[in-house]
């Protein structure tokens, strides 16, 4: 038996390293423990949309929300809920486990290098995030009569900035966590903290004044009103977009500074 050096037959088209890495990350996301994270990230917010949509009082305008229904108020919160689960819980655990296994170190000895795995992982998580947002918006629109975002450009900009800031935070968690277990723990704490300020348990307009101020200074406390404004047809406030961009830069630089491949 010998191993020939001849390239595979021309009929078998070879995929590029990047395509192959993205495909691998996608496959791994649908298997084992990671699949639970995928199911939760996509399924749980969707389930909440369906539950909230089924509650009659949630579809009647509320004065405190400026005439919006409770469901209207919760859609942006559930959108960032999905983004945060993907970025803060699923992704850091995956990347930290890759480091723990020595997978990233092994890739350092190949022409592909470990940075491409990081890129592939981000691409897959972002793609899943985009699909999840589209599904939630679609189900809310066609299932429960929630108006589709009217300022679509502003909605996309706010959504992407929120996703990018969260992923930068997720990368920072992966960078500093000593193990996959620690990454999962830190990610979860950060997730609950950010979701509190996003108004998951108490919508921001219902919060005491002080909490509202703190909330607006957090990434998701900025993201939720930005998405809400865009949904209602206004361009999001510059300050909210700027807040998210600032988190993106700070978390991103810190992640780049502290990330260890081994």
């Amino acid at each position: 038996m010998t191993v020939t050096t001849a390239p595979p037959p021309a009929a078998v088209r070879r995929r590029s390293a990047m395509t192959q890495l993205v495909l691998t990350e996608l496959r791994l996301f649908t298997r084992g423990r990671a699949a639970v994270g995928l199911g939760l990230s996509v399924g749980f917010p969707l389930l909440l949309v369906i539950i909230f949509g089924g509650i009659h009082s949630f579809s009647t305008p509320v004065k405190a929300f400026g005439g919006l229904t409770t469901l209207d108020v919760y859609i942006p919160i559930l959108l960032v809920f999905a983004l945060a689960l993907l970025s803060l819980v699923a992704m850091p655990a995956t990347l930290a486990s890759y480091r723990e296994l020595g997978y990233l170190r092994r890739l350092k000895t190949t022409p592909a290098g470990p940075a491409r795995v990081l890129a592939a992982e981000l691409a897959v998580k972002l793609a899943v995030a985009v699909v999840t947002v589209a599904v939630i918006v679609g189900v809310a629109r066609f299932g429960y009569g929630v108006a589709a975002p009217r300022q679509i450009g502003g909605f996309i900009v706010a959504g992407l900035l929120a996703a990018a800031a969260l992923m930068a935070a997720g990368l920072l968690v992966a960078a500093v966590a000593p193990s996959a277990g620690a990454a999962r723990g830190i990610g979860a704490v950060l997730f609950y903290l950010m979701m509190f300020f996003a108004g998951l348990w108490l919508p921001i307009p219902d919060m005491p004044q002080v909490l509202q101020h703190i909330s607006h200074a957090t990434p998701l406390g900025a993201a939720v009103p930005a998405l809400q404004d865009a949904a209602l047809g206004h361009w999001p406030a510059g300050l909210q977009l700027l807040t998210m961009a600032a988190y993106l830069v700070v978390f991103g630089l810190a992640a780049a500074r502290f990330f260890r491949w081994e």
Binding site: M1, Q20, S97, G102, Y103, T109, A112
Partner: protein
């Protein structure tokens, strides 16, 4: 033959511990070169400097004329690596891993064929986490070879393999070498070095204590031969004791045990032949690489050698 790997006065410390003190050697093209030594001798640090994973504090390294630090991009295309402690994501399947790694290289080997050569075709759809230790090891060898490297560095190649899998792996490595791949083998397993390596560097406490062909190294410490046999008729001890080549003669059960210098066997057999005595169950013990190792370093190559053998 030109040197494929050239390591000169390599030195590497971590905080206050010196991992590699002063290591120099060259590896010729097409050679199987062994790096042998006890745990913590600096073997892995040495090869990780060659792979470009670590930056040496001092010394020069050239691999295929490339600098492992400066010319990383080029080196990774030509150097296949098996790391001592590196695993794959548990859910990644064998065939997927091979297809993935083959996509990294400009002219990869046929990974399906490689899978067959390593006997893991039946496991193509099995996730890494469900493979046995031996199967994981074979996959990691396959991944080291999938890029069609000119040089392969294999760290603790057969650790964790059962004896049959180990012999199969040795055969595989010989076949890989026959294709012209230069191989650097890190091991603390003597039989492996003796069987496979053209030359070995014995490393102890961060230094090369000896560098030669395994048999030459063994010869170097061969001070005594031990000959054991059952004579066909009772034997007068004085007959053998009088030989200048023989140092001692003793009886053990029905067997005679003779020790002497390297010419003792010749002397003993010719005396016996002259007397018409047949030496049954004749056995000669010679110094092995392990004896050489003991003599040169004063300790055993690996504390876990017993479980390995």
């Amino acid at each position: 033959m030109p040197a494929v790997i050239d390591v000169q006065q390599l030195h590497k410390s971590y905080q206050d511990t010196v991992a590699v003190d002063d290591v120099s050697f060259t590896v010729a093209e097409g050679e199987i070169f062994g790096i042998l030594g006890p745990n913590g001798a600096g073997k892995t640090t040495t090869v990780e400097c060659i792979e470009g994973l670590r930056t040496p504090d001092r010394g020069q390294i050239s691999v295929l004329g490339l600098d492992p630090q400066r010319d990383r991009a080029q080196l990774t295309q030509r150097l296949g690596v098996q790391l001592q402690e590196s695993r794959l994501p548990g859910q990644l399947r064998v065939a997927e891993a091979l297809e993935l790694y083959s996509s990294f290289y400009p002219a990869p080997a046929d990974w399906r064929q490689l899978m067959a050569v390593l006997g893991i075709t039946a496991k193509a759809r099995t996730p890494f986490g469900k493979l046995s230790g031996g199967q994981q090891q074979r996959l990691s060898i396959a991944l080291a070879l999938v890029g069609n490297p000119r040089v392969a560095v294999l760290d603790e190649l057969t650790t964790g393999l059962d004896p049959q899998a180990r012999r199969d792996t040795w055969e595989l490595i010989e076949r890989v070498r026959d294709r012209g791949v230069t191989i650097v083998l890190v091991t603390h397993f003597m039989a492996e070095a003796e069987r496979l390596c053209d030359r070995v560097a014995l490393i102890d406490a961060g230094r090369v204590v000896a560098l030669d062909a395994p048999a030459t190294l063994a010869d170097r410490v061969e001070s005594e031969q031990r000959i054991q046999f059952r004579p066909s008729v009772p034997l007068d001890r004085g007959l053998l004791e009088s030989l200048p080549e023989v140092t001692s003669v003793s009886h053990r059960g029905g067997a005679v045990v003779v020790t002497g210098n390297s010419n003792a066997l010749n002397a003993v057999t010719s005396v016996l032949a002259r007397r018409g005595i047949i030496a049954r169950q004749l056995r000669v013990d010679q110094a092995s690489l392990e004896d050489a190792f003991l003599a040169l370093t004063g300790r055993h190559p690996g504390s876990d050698e017993k479980q390995e053998a």
